[in-house]
Symmetry: C2
Subunit: 461 residues, 2 copies
């Protein structure tokens, strides 16, 4: 241990022209950015210039709602990461993929492949995909229940880990002289027979630089937190207040410990939507401009959908209705539902003001101010207030892209660096190294060695 103060970890969450739903209407924005690899490569390069740990893409295998009011559709994120990997050197590369609508062999291989081609920079944000629209693109009439999606996810991860560990790190010999390329004894076929999956073979990719991609998770429901405690190494979460974030942080660390894991190896990264200006007034002006560009009826319809209400039940100038569904009745994004309702009730927001808050960050903490104020907001949660920590770092969700990321990297990051709380150069080359996480050992190798030792012992008796 050195006396170096605890270090921040920063992820840039990239989404076309920015996280504010009206950002595409700003004069500076490219409304075709969602299909532009140049746009995303440029964003990754900005994040890398700022020495951020990683970039991240959300995803769902469905066209979300209608295309009328905001940029819709997006390139499949694992191929986007691969293209970005070719144009960057160090930045970590995290993509969302669904355990409900993929097969483990294909997905484990794709992430192992991105890990190879990026030199160990791949991360997987594991989701179970909570929309009926997605189910209907994959041969189903109904959304599988929350519990059944998480049961499949749990087994999916077991299989994926078996596949990533199916080649010993020493399996490739590449011995030209003897003509022996690999050692078949150091292959550990998955041999998985479970409730959801039957996967016999070894992966068709050697073990990757990181062993496993970094495993990320973002669900905050009970099932989600239980899953995170078992598997996640970084957790993206939407928290509105310091107290809530502290409670979430403590809960995750406690659960990780209960699952037999090192709580320091499970990083909690709350989202923050910074709206930056050289002065507070300038920042407020940008925020107001963005909110003016929201089309209220469209946002109201989306809100109604998330709350399982008919749009006619919502009035722009009144608070949410008294009677709402309970979280139990929501089969989709349970924690998002609760977060929206809590925010509206706590601050007694009209639907119009609620829409403004959600339009800015979809329930994530928004913070409008100068670079110094944003840095202070980061430290407030990072260092806590004596009632415990609230974050190991942050998921940075610029309201406008690329300008909001540029402002963060050029104006906020130097403050964090000056205070000695954020790297000025990358120390390692892999995503795990950036997050201070170890490369996983291969348990299959240990099992194989133990079996071999037992055989020798039995033989020598």
């Amino acid at each position: 241990m050195t006396d170096e103060p605890r270090q921040l970890h920063l992820n840039a969450f990239l989404m076309n022209t920015g996280h504010h739903e009206a950002s595409w209407r700003l004069p500076e924005s490219d409304p075709y950015s969602s299909t532009s690899i140049r746009h995303y490569t440029r964003l990754a390069q900005i994040a890398e210039r700022g020495r951020l740990d990683s970039i991240f893409f959300a995803d769902s295998p469905t066209l979300w709602g209608t295309i009328g009011r905001r940029p819709s559709g997006s390139l499949e994120p694992t191929v986007v990461l691969a293209a970005i990997a070719a144009q960057t050197e160090r930045i970590g590369l995290i993509a969302t993929a669904s355990t409900t609508y993929n097969e483990p062999y294909n997905l484990a291989r794709r992430f192992a492949s991105v890990d190879h081609l990026s030199g160990g920079r791949a991360g997987w944000n594991i989701v179970t995909t909570a929309t009926l629209d997605a189910a209907r693109n994959f041969n189903l009439d109904e959304l599988p229940s929350h519990a059944s999606r998480y049961a499949r996810a749990e087994e999916f991860l077991q299989v994926a880990k078996k596949l990533w560990d199916s080649w010993d790190d020493a399996a490739v010999l590449a011995d030209k002289e003897s003509g022996l390329w690999g050692d078949d004894r150091l292959l550990y076929p998955a041999g998985h027979e479970g409730e959801h999956f039957q996967v016999a073979g070894a992966l068709n990719v050697p073990r990757s630089p990181q062993g496993h991609p970094l495993l990320v998770q973002a669900g905050s429901s009970e099932d989600g937190k239980a899953f995170a405690a078992n598997h996640a190494e970084a957790i993206f979460t939407a928290q509105q207040t310091l107290a809530e974030a502290q409670a979430f942080y403590a809960d995750i660390k406690r659960r990780a410990k209960a699952a037999g894991r090192d709580p320091d190896a499970v990083l909690v990264l709350p989202g923050i939507v910074p709206v930056l200006g050289a002065t507070e007034a300038e920042a407020r002006e940008l925020e107001a401009e963005l909110d003016r560009l929201i089309v209220p009826q469209y946002a109201l319809n989306n809100l109604a959908k998330q709350l399982k209400l008919d749009p006619s039940e919502l009035d722009l100038d009144r608070e949410l209705p008294e009677h709402l569904p309970t979280e139990d009745e929501i089969e989709g994004a349970k924690s998002r539902f609760t977060l929206i309702v809590d925010l509206a009730r706590r601050e007694r927001l009209t639907v119009r003001r609620l829409i403004g808050r959600l339009g800015g960050g979809r329930g994530h903490r928004t913070f409008t101010g100068t670079p110094e104020q944003v840095a202070d907001a980061i430290f407030e949660w990072f260092d806590g207030d004596g009632n415990g920590l609230a974050a190991d770092g942050f998921n940075i969700m610029p309201a406008v892209l690329p300008s909001g990321l540029e402002a963060f990297v050029d104006q906020v990051v130097p403050i964090l660096q000056d205070k000695g709380r954020f790297r000025t150069e990358y120390a390692g080359s892999t995503l795990r190294e950036h997050y201070g996480l170890a490369r996983p050992e291969n348990p299959r190798r240990r099992e194989a060695l133990e079996a071999a030792v037992k055989g020798v012992l039995a033989h020598s008796r």
Copy 2:
């Protein structure tokens, strides 16, 4: 029409250190190339320097055989294409993917994404994956029958095309002023309910630069040829003799015509494995060196597997046994089976010599000689001998990579160019343009317009 002579189309089939199974043992070869994106990017850049139409990766979602004797495992090819796209400008990018072990929504989206990020250079080699090992990685105990795989493939293509056409080319308005980003009326959800698939929605990617990726096919069984006639725009095929290639070529063109398609829009590209030397003696020396590096017993085991025999039934110094399974008994690669048996019988090869021939090109035509001789071999098939054409171009499968591709590009391509039969610069920017194929119209748009016209007519009555 101009008087320009008929133009060759050339694809480079890339496979780690080359198509000769012992190529990895040469001093010049990188035995870790199968996981090296630098290696593949360099190969793509060499192919682009030669103005080739495209590069291509074979694939199967399984670890093929053992890893003992040759480089095994490979990065998932769609992510490899994405990484290569970022480092190239014009070369077409073709990857294999299986209709048996993917879902249409995911795969259609991934190819549309690669098409977007490459500026219209994506191609999909459609396979049904003919190995039991693959089935056992995807929850199955047995290989689905040839017929059932092709039935699924047929419906998979229907769904994929509906998804690629689910956005009108004019659907994105990006009108910042009104806040209208897209026109929902110009979305055409798949609405597919079939025997294998139920896919309701529109794709979550706008229609891509090529409309559809270039569709490639390589199966030569009856089912395979019927499928190719319906869907394929380029066909990779293994043909050993001019007469066989002519027959195959005529058959494909006839089938395409019978399916109501323009036969000129279905390009036939036989494989050729060039082994090049400055003199014929040098080329023969390279060929002999490669064959010396084959480990015979390993190759014999592989051959036995392909012929559905026990290895003990094969003798290195004798011909194949009299009694062999028939093609009907092979549920896997039927046409490959027949090609091997025909080659062995026709040339009365011992197992050892058969292994040498297959080790060089796995049943594809091998040609050893000077650049001039290779160019002549290309023209012999491209122009035919008066009994009809045999090729619209070639699938170039260098025995050794990168040196064999460099030799082809630097020594053979200039000969083809000097004779006015191959481009000296790319005329277009998309893969379809390289192959002289049109961007597909969107039939959904026509249907929608017809429906609208009917509505207007009904209303005006």
